[in-house]
Amino acid sequence: MSARTLRGRVAVAGIGETTYYKHGKSPDAELKLALQAILRACEDAGISPREIDGFASYSNDRNDPSRLAAALGTRELRFSNMQWGGGGGGGAAAVGNAAAAIATGMADCVIVFRALAQGQFARFGLGGQTPTVSGEQAFTFPYGMMSPGQRYAMRAMRFMHEHGIGREPLRAIAMASYHHAQQNPRAVMHGRPLTEEMYDASRWIVEPFRLFDCCLENDGAAALLLVPAERARDLRHRGVYMLGVAQGSEHRNAAPVHNAPLYGTSSFTSVAPHLYEMAGVAPADVDVVQSYENFTGGVLMSLVEHGLFRAEEAAEVCTLENLLAPKGRLPLNTSGGNLAECYMHGLELQLEAVRQLRGESPNQVPDAEVAMVCAGPMVTPVSSLILGTEGVL
C-alpha cells in the first residue's frame, strides 16, 4: 500500500465558466448557468459530458448533482458530494473531495462546480431579515453585527492589532486584483482600473475595510473537470496535477460568539502545514498564489499563515509591486479574483491557478510550475490546495 496522499494522482482535465455578470444581471437561471459552465469544462477537456460520474460543490450550492446528471444524460452517478460549512472556505476542499473520490476509485470523471444567480435568490451581504434570532445570532445581530463583513472585520482588526499592521498591505491587495483584472476580458471590473486615490477616498464599509476591501457579489458559474492522472497525458492541455489539499480549522475555531482561542487568524494555521506536507513543496516553491478575497484583511492573514512571509514583514513584502504578475516576488490573484474578476465564490481562483500552470493566464507568471489556492479566510472550515505541472511530480 502506497502512502496516503493525493499527490500526483489526479489531474484537472478541463475548466469552464459562463459570462460573469453583475449581481442580479444573469439572463439565465442559476441551474442553466451551472450546466453551461460544466459543458464548457467538458469541451475544454475534450471529454463527453456523458462520462461525468461525479459532482462536488460547497456552500450548499442549490444545483443538485442528481438533477444535473439527469439533465446532462450522464451514464451513471457515482459521487455526489457537498462540503459542509464554511461558505467560500469550501472551494479547495470541494476539489480535494473530488480528487479523493477519483484516487480511491469511487469515481473517474468528477465535476467541481459553483453557480450563483443572487438576483434570483437572497444576497450574501444582507443580514437579519427575520423578526427574531436565536442561538449564536442572538448574541451578535441585536448589536448590528450581521453580515460577513461585520463578522470578519472583528477578526482582521485583532490580527492587525496583534502585529502592528497598518492598512497599506490591504490597499496593495485590492489594487493587485484590480490591476490584473484590466488584462482579463472576463473580469467584471475589466476597463475599470483602481487608483490609490480612489481606494483612499472610498467609503468605509466597516473599519478596517473600505469599499474596495470587500468582494463583489456576482452571477455566473464555473466548473473544473477532474480525472485520474494517467488520463491527463492523453488530453489536449498541458497536465495540471493535484499536489496537495487540506481543509479544516484550528482547535475550537467555531467556539460560539467569537471565542476561538486563536482569534486573530484566518483559520489556516493548522491547515497549511498539512497542505505543504502532502504537496511536498515549501512556501518558497510556490510561483503564484490565488487567495480568496472575502475581505483583503483575510488575504493578508492567509498569506502569512501559509508561510509566504511573516506578519511583521507585511509592510515590506505585501506591496503592489511585489503582488503583480509577471515580475512581482509574490504574484497574487492574477485574474482579478473575487474583488475584480468575479465573485464566483472563489471557484474562479481555482480556474486561474490551472490557467497559470497551462501558461494561459491573462497575467502569466513566466514558467509557473507550482500554484496555490487558499479558500475562504476566517471562516471554518477553510481549505487550500497546491497544483503543479508534470515537471514537479
Binding site: 423578526p131 434570532v133 436565536s134 442572538a138 448574541f139 482588526m157 468605509w204
Partner: protein, 150 residues
C-alpha cells in the same frame, strides 16, 4: 436631542432563546440586570457561548453564574454601511468584542455606548451597561448588554 433611548434603532431582530432553551438562563439574567455565564460544575471552567457540554472536561453538568460586569476590549469595529433597514441613515456605530477577566477571559459581543466616532483601543477597560427593550411586563421584552469605557 434624539428621542432614541437605545444605542441602535428599534427594529433589529429580537433575541429569543432557542426552542431547546439552551440560552434561556442568560436572557432571564439580563432582564434582572445580571450578567450570567455558563460554568461547569465539574471542572469549574467558564464557557461562552452556551453549549450542552463542557469543552474542557466533557461534563454535561453545567450551571450558570453571575459575573462581574467588568471587561477589556479585545477587538472592535466601526460599522458604517447598514445591512439592515432599521439601521439605514443611523450613521456609524461601534461593536466591541469584550474579554471578561473574571470568567477565564471568555468574550462577548456588544456595542460601545457613547460617541460613535470615539477613539477605540484594544486593551481598554469597559463596564457592562444593561439596555432594556420593552417594559418589565412585556412578554417580548429583552435586555441587551452593552459596554462603556471605564
Amino acid at each position: 436631542m434624539s428621542a432614541r433611548t437605545t444605542y441602535l434603532s428599534e427594529g433589529l431582530p429580537r433575541p429569543v432563546p432557542e426552542p431547546d432553551g439552551l440560552s434561556a438562563p442568560y436572557w432571564e439574567g439580563t432582564r434582572r440586570g445580571e450578567l450570567r455565564i455558563q460554568r461547569c460544575r465539574g471542572c469549574r471552567a467558564w464557557q461562552w457561548g452556551p453549549e450542552w457540554i463542557c469543552h474542557r472536561c466533557l461534563s454535561f453538568d453545567l450551571g450558570w453564574e453571575t459575573v462581574d460586569g467588568r471587561g477589556v476590549i479585545y477587538s472592535w469595529e466601526r460599522v458604517w454601511h447598514p445591512v439592515h433597514p432599521a439601521l439605514k441613515d443611523a450613521g456609524p456605530y461601534v461593536v466591541v468584542l469584550v474579554e471578561l477577566p473574571h470568567a477565564d477571559n471568555v468574550r462577548m459581543i456588544g456595542n460601545l455606548v457613547g460617541d460613535p466616532h470615539q477613539d477605540v483601543r484594544s486593551g481598554a477597560p469597559v463596564v457592562a451597561v444593561f439596555e432594556d427593550h420593552g417594559t418589565p411586563d412585556d412578554k417580548n421584552g429583552y435586555t441587551l448588554v452593552h459596554w462603556r469605557t471605564a
